[in-house]
């Protein structure tokens, strides 16, 4: 029973204490499907970074990335990078690029076969979505995907951009 209380209480206390507070985004350098290195530091200089953790076997992950396709051009024009971080192990790596291209994703598809990013960002479920602002803070975390969740992601992005514009005009 003591263990049960520990299990329930400890994470609740930790998370509730932290709810709403932005967390620093850990640095990373990953290889994309074309063999280029992608670093958080260089991406963040252009604009906010969105990250979706996905895998070939994850049906809802693919649905999420498909649902965000109509917004790809908008992201591009606003210098927002969407990183589709593949969690497929080494055996499935050859299939990642053909799959992403066939789905006409205009995102930066990066490979993480050792799941170092999953460990770094403490991903518990697939998909998990993060929004990182230009101060390198994680301002939005969302586990799982249900049809319609993309609207929440888009509204968060627009809110972030509006806030950035307000801050810019105040300066």
């Amino acid at each position: 029973m003591r263990k049960f209380v520990l299990i329930i209480m400890l994470p609740m206390l930790l998370v509730l204490a932290d709810e709403g507070e932005a967390i620093d985004a850990p640095d990373f350098a990953l290889e994309d499907v074309d063999g280029n290195t992608v670093c958080l530091d260089s991406l963040i200089q252009k604009g906010p970074v969105l990250m979706s953790f996905w895998a070939l076997w994850c049906k809802m992950c693919i649905k999420e990335l498909d649902a965000l396709k109509p917004y790809a051009n908008e992201f591009d024009s606003l210098n927002i990078t969407l990183l589709a971080i593949s969690q497929d192990k080494t055996r499935a790596v050859p299939k990642v690029k053909p799959f992403a291209m066939s789905h006409k994703w205009k995102y930066d598809v990066v490979l993480d076969p050792e799941n170092t990013m999953r460990d770094l960002y403490h991903v518990q479920a697939m998909p998990t979505f993060f929004i990182i602002d230009q101060n390198k803070k994680i301002i939005f975390t969302h586990q799982g995907y249900k049809p319609g969740d993309e609207e929440i992601i888009i509204s968060m992005v627009r809110e972030l951009l509006a806030k950035g514009e307000e801050d810019g005009s105040e300066e």
Binding site: P94, K97, N115, Q124, G144, G148
Partner: protein, 507 residues
């Protein structure tokens, strides 16, 4: 220092660090099961409690990580399992030095593949020192460590390779870009690696295993190719004498907007190394559903995958994959393509079509066919043919998903079928309620000993987003169990009847 004291120390450290300029993050997964073992009697309730807390503290170039895990079943045997893993890492370009528990893969895994598969509860880690140096588009990894494999099967977590074997390895990889910039993206990768294990628990004199390997890869615009070769030599486990082996992996693929194609070829002859039930390397299997024949000991096969979206409203995915043991009586080409009566093997053929008549409406239809020979003993040959359909509709404020699948199972002793219907309704960023009913028309004799005599499995699941960082899943009902695989590793999942509760949190 005891395990509990260590954990307490980590917590105190965390509390103090809140005041300091230290980044803290983490995650928690708490799981509670209460269930009945249907093969015994209906009053025989069991409980499982699993807790995994991950904490990460970072200060400038230094990161400290701790993972506290405990699994507490209600039964005295095998009793609880708990451990505390920790990692200290210093990372400043071009150097990274890590001490503690870590995972690593050399190349595509022919020589060394120590990985964590959290979704399958398969934890292959190394404990020791790992260093990485990055310079001039190159990377050199040097490591030493003691392996550990924690695996969940038959409703029990256990350490499969409780050895004091020491693994030492070096992995080098270099990328070449063309000197003159071209419009076409061209990257060439060359790598080499070496692994040695002094098998101290093997009582034969000077027991060791060495693996060498190399790879070359090209990425030229839409074309992507990769070749890896590995060679093993050492002493035979437990009996001594010389053991030699080799393995080869070739993949090639083409990718254009709306079209993707990949081909894979594998040939492993005594390439897998480790012990009964575990491997230190894990040569890739081309089978999408994760089945391998004997995990790199004696395997030959291919994988062909085609994905195309010829229209914006439709896409098709086709896979044809095969892996089997060798048969020297056949030519190399025949061994790749065929499974004859002398071979053990798997042939997987799948087709899936997804259509979107409107943006909010999706229909998926597909057919999976899986032929296994010598995989699910005592059955020699088994064929599973599964047509399925799924409809999902997004109404804005809520969504609905309806699915049906019918699996015809034909084996050398009996035929039967399984069918399942599912219904889900959900609201974005709040909850999903799923109902599923599975039924088997009859249970063949060979399956009764493994899975019991049940023929119906109703199940309800609620997934609730408590906050954006908390998710609670409650599942009530039955799961039929059976053989499930991931990355070449398989286990026989026990049938389940009871309640599962999982709370995941990120902070």
């Amino acid at each position: 220092m005891g395990l509990k004291s260590k954990f307490l120390f980590a917590l105190i450290l965390t509390s103090f660090s809140i005041a300091a300029d230290i980044g803290i993050s983490g995650a928690n997964c708490a799981e509670y099961w209460v269930f009945v073992d249907s093969r015994l009697d209906s009053l025989n309730y069991k409980e499982h409690l699993t807790e995994k807390l991950k904490l990460s503290l970072s200060y400038k170039d230094l990161t400290l990580k701790g993972i506290f895990f405990f699994w507490d079943p209600s039964v005295a045997v095998p009793g609880e399992l708990q451990y505390l893993d920790y990692t200290a890492q210093y990372k400043r370009d071009p150097v990274s030095i890590l001490y503690g528990t870590y995972y690593t893969t050399f190349g595509r895994g022919l020589c060394l593949n120590q990985f964590l598969d959290e979704d399958f509860n398969n934890d292959n880690s190394l404990y020791g020192l790992k260093t990485d140096f990055r310079f001039l588009n190159s990377r050199l990894t040097l490591l030493t460590g003691t392996p550990r494999n924690i695996f969940f099967e038959e409703l029990t977590y256990s350490i499969k390779n409780d050895t004091t074997d020491q693994i030492r390895g070096a992995d080098f990889e270099m990328k070449w870009y063309p000197i003159f910039a071209t419009e076409t993206n061209i990257v060439t990768t060359i790598g080499g690696r070496y692994v040695r294990v002094n098998r101290v628990t093997d009582l034969t004199p000077k027991a060791f295993t060495e693996l060498f390997g190399g790879n070359i890869g090209f990425k030229i615009g839409p074309w992507d190719s990769y070749f890896e070769y590995g060679r093993q030599w050492g002493t035979k486990p437990l009996v001594g004498g010389r053991l030699k082996g080799e393995g080869m992996l070739v993949t090639t693929g083409l990718a254009f907007p709306g079209f993707g194609f990949s081909v894979q070829y594998i040939d492993y002859d005594n390439m897998g190394f480790g012990g009964p039930g575990y491997r230190y390397n894990e040569p890739p299997t081309p089978i999408k559903s994760g089945i391998s024949v004997n995990r790199g000991i004696d395997e030959i096969g291919y994988g062909v995958s085609l994905v195309a979206s010829p229209f914006d409203f439709a896409s098709v995915e086709i896979d044809n994959n095969k892996v089997s043991t060798h048969d020297e009586a056949l030519s190399e080409f025949e061994q790749i393509l065929k499974i004859n009566d002398r071979m053990d093997g798997v042939l997987e053929q799948t087709i899936k079509i997804i259509t979107h008549p409107t943006f909010d409406f999706e229909i998926t239809v597909g057919l999976d066919k899986l032929t296994k020979q010598g995989i699910e003993l005592p059955i020699e040959k088994k064929t599973e043919t599964k047509p399925y359909a799924d409809l999902s509709c997004d109404f804005g404020s809520f969504f609905v998903d309806v699915g049906y699948e019918h699996t015809f199972v034909s084996s050398d002793t009996s035929d039967y079928y399984d069918h399942a219907a599912s219904f889900s309704i959900g609201k974005p960023e709040l909850l999903v309620l799923s109902l599923r009913y599975e039924r088997r028309n009859r249970v063949p004799g060979w399956l009764i000993t493994k899975l019991g005599e049940e023929t119906g499995w109703p199940m309800a699941e609620l997934s609730l987003d408590i906050t954006r960082r908390h998710n609670l899943r409650i599942r009530v009902g039955g799961e039929k169990g059976g053989l499930i695989c991931s990355g070449g590793v398989c286990r026989f999942e026990e049938p389940f009847r009871g309640v599962k509760m999982v709370l995941t949190s990120i902070f």
